[in-house]
Amino acid sequence: MKALQYQTQRLSMRFFMLMLVLFIVQVALGLILALQENDPLFLQGVLNFNIVRADHLDLAIDWILCGFIGAIVFVAPLLSKRDFAHPWLIKFLFYALLVIVIANVCTQYLARFGIAGWWLGQPWFQQGREYLEEGRAVQVALLIGFGILSYIVLRIFPPRREWNEIHWGLVLGVLGLTGVWVFAMFFVARLDLSEYFRWYVVHYWVEGIWEIIHISLVGYLIVLMFHAKIKSVGYAVFWGVAMVWLSGMIGNAHHYFWIGTPAFWQFWGSLFSAFEPLPLVFCFWHIYLDAHQNRKPLENTPAFYFLLGSVLLEQVGAGILGFSMTFARTNVWSHGTWITAGHAHLALFGTFGLLGIAVAYYAVPLMRGIKGFDERLGQLAFWLVLVGVLGMAFAFDMGGTVEVFNYRTLGLDWFGGRIDPAMGGYRVALLVFGCVLLIGAGLTVYDLLTMGYRRPSAGLARERPDGHAAAAIGARPAVGWGRYLSGFEVGLWLLVLWFFGGIITVSLLAFNLAIVRSGHPTLPYTLAAIGYAGLFVATLLFISRFLTSMQARKRAVAADESRDDMDLLGEPAA
């Protein structure tokens, strides 16, 4: 295990801890929403559905931002080879962020009483625009906070001629966080124009700027974890970022379909966003290749688990599910239904949330000086989180398919009590998998909060100081599920995932057929069941296969060492 190189890296700890607290609150809010989906009277009058949903959407941004800032504060000194010049500014940023989050959550509650805090023609407490619920006060404070973050990063980074692609990525990321956020504050009376700017934030800010930060952080984490060459990773980061913008600049128009814009946006939005998964496919290959540069065992298993989860759920949630609903002909059905929620949970939480946890798993043991921590709890937490969120996405997507048919095709009233029974089973499934996610989230938070303070388990005590399990002596080279994962096999797995993505796309296109619109849902229902179930099962199997092959390296090294030991003793190798 490496040692912490710069003392000011420790400043990231507070952001990771806040991220974990917000993460558990976020999941708890989600569970309340799932309960209210099943019983609309649950907490009615105390915490109404619309308030909890607004907080859930806002916290989704807040907790991920905490993870991003923590990750940037952790890696910036490493990239700059020096400490931060103004640690107090980072501490100030943390407390400001804490106040902003509390204010944001609390002011949403005022919406119940119709209080927006109008002053000087601006809604200072809450403005009630979906995804941009926070009031002007919080928005201005966030803008200042992003400005401080940009200054901190630019101040610590070396002169520009020494920057590599990761420096550029992070600088573009923090400047973009600040610059694009300005569009969140554009509030104009014309609703269609106002929607343009709202989608600038939702798309360019989250799907563009966050993506740049994600690609840069993932790249640098790969350098740290696998000692990959910064030149090779830099190339991947450059093209990842370039393709995000080549496809996403006009691809943003997939948000303009139904806000009163001309029809050509439907064509351009569909066409360019169809290519938006390309950078995600590219980045997945770069992760695979750099993780297989050598066959050294993983130094920090939970960090890699969550990192792989982030990259693969980005592929599945943002890439495949996003692709399926990005065409005007499919989006006309899926827009604003549970299908969108399924995509959003995997794309937002899966991609960005899991990355924050991955960096926390990498950074926290270093900052606490822990050598050879018990990784099993982190691994279990990862699988619970993964199964929970994939199960929730399945419930959302299948429930959404039923919703599209009943609500959009048959035109049944949402509040008329007919759609509710049709979606009932999926509402229960949402709750069940939400509980699984909550348990996984709880274990993740417990593990990271108490890491280094818990008594080492008996299993860990038996391990060697270098982290290789003594029990693995005599282990055989990896075969079967744990064998070496070749590039050809990875290609096949990706093809399988995209094959199911194609079926999902056809299931949505099928709603355009006259026979379906006349009341026969068999085709879209069957295709959706095959597509979504196949996609999520294949995702689980692929992650399992990838991780088992990586874990097998540890056993292989232990087996090699045991052979060397036996050779030294003059005994025949097993």
Partner: protein, 89 residues
């Protein structure tokens, strides 16, 4: 050359598929921004740009794999060099 031909064919197929999937069948051509003449412009420019994005993706992916092959070759050479040194000593 073979690579380039395959890439161009893949780009053409993908671009045509994306164009077909993206065509909004409810276009009404009623006003200037949605006139038939401008639709032809949208389709041509859209196809060129979309084709470029996919072609650039394929090119970048090839280079990524080439970098990987070079890194592996370097690592093999380094390991071989290390083994030779050990044998000589």
């Amino acid at each position: 050359m073979r690579h380039r031909a395959i890439d161009l064919v893949l780009t053409a197929v993908t671009t045509v598929a994306a164009l077909l999937l993206s065509w909004p069948f409810w276009a009404h051509f009623e006003y200037w921004a949605d006139s038939r003449a401008l639709w032809i412009v949208y389709v041509i420019i859209g196809a060129i740009l979309a084709g470029y994005v996919f072609y650039a993706f394929l090119g970048a992916l090839h280079t990524l794999f080439e970098h990987d092959a070079l890194d592996h070759a370097e690592a093999r050479e380094a390991a071989k060099g290390g083994a030779d040194t050990e044998n000589r000593s």
